[in-house]
Amino acid sequence: MAAPESGDGNNGAARMVTLISSDNTRFEVEAAAASLSQTLQLTILDGGGGGGDGIPLPNVDSATLSKVLEYCIKHAPAAANGGAPNATAVDRAELERFDNEFVNIDQSVLYSLIMAAHNLEIEGLQSLVAKKVADMIKGKSPMEIRRTLGFPDPTPEEQAEMNAHMLEYGWAYE
């Protein structure tokens, strides 16, 4: 979660930045973690987000942002090592365990994470959530996918479109 706000002022403590969610919650987090976001990286490099300012994120609510930062904080050390060429197998296994656990969440949270990872352009998180969705829909028919993800039943018009699309493949039937 977000690092302690008091921080350790001495001993060259890591630089902190503040992010502000759409519902006005302030999160203080190490700049290195927030910089996993391509969108935020330049702002942070230019000194943004420090002091009392904070960087507003109008598209990300506090629940989602707290989850996103949990990911960033966990992955920041490895990312700082340039993809961690010298990471040990244990470190990698631990990150993998974390990732698996991290996406073990309900669909609405997953959806919000996809949107946030997309908005903030956090590459590793984008890939992780995409993999999760891919695993959920793998081997399923369009109708099964719609049911899995809670799409409304297709209108007759949509059904006709789906059928027309099948013809492109020269399929005799579904």
Binding site: D61, S62, A134, D135, P142, W171
Partner: protein, 280 residues
Amino acid sequence: MPSSRSRRNRRRWGHPPRDWSQLPPDALSAVFHKLDHIEILMGGGRVCRSWRRAARDEPELWRRINMLFHAELHFEVDLHGMAAAAVRRSAGQCEAFWGEYAGDDRFILYLSERAPMLKSLRFISCYDVCQEAFMEAMRKFPLLEELELSISPNVYEEAYGVVGESCPNLKRFRLSKNCFISIEGGCFDKDEEARGIAKMHELRSLQLFNCELTDTGLAGILDGCPHLESLDIRQCFNVTMDAAAISAKCATIKSLKLPNDSTAGYEFQVHPPKYIVQDD
């Protein structure tokens, strides 16, 4: 840190309503990149209008088309038609097509018109790709670097010479037959295939499995393909040349597998050899 106020809000309002049809195209594309192409064509790529669009309008997604490992589907759906749909989506940018039971004459001619950049072509169990169409198509893949024909028995003999002449950049060739069959006696030419393969002068890697070539054919290949680094001629029981003789003819070979070497790791079923005696 989230304040207690925000936690209360979260409990009260929950997450915003989600509409999976509204995923941004980039996010959907990231999902599709984690699926194989048959999964996209049969499932995710047909879910709704926006998902269809995301699957259809991103040629990058179809640059390397992999339709392997769905052999069981060929009883149910038209995999050739799906292969064509995949190539259509690549919008001329297709660099690799790998098909298992996915590919027939009509498809390979279509591919030859739509994939001028093709570098890698693998057909596995493509019984419906036949000699004439194959040869016609191969003339249109000048950039091809890799070709595999496994368990695809309707391409043979002079077709390999056409490949050698038409694909000057070919680096890897794999010809893997279902069963070693040697026709003894009569006037059957066991080395016609090998003479075609000997025209693939830039080959680095060659696997011939269950092929009937003899020492003469192999010698021709070693002369014609001076850059070979990897040679696998397992189950080609008409070859008697040993490792020393092969190395003496082609010193660049680093990895060599001989006819009687173990077939461990070979992904298709291995059948016992057959010898057919034919009268003159």
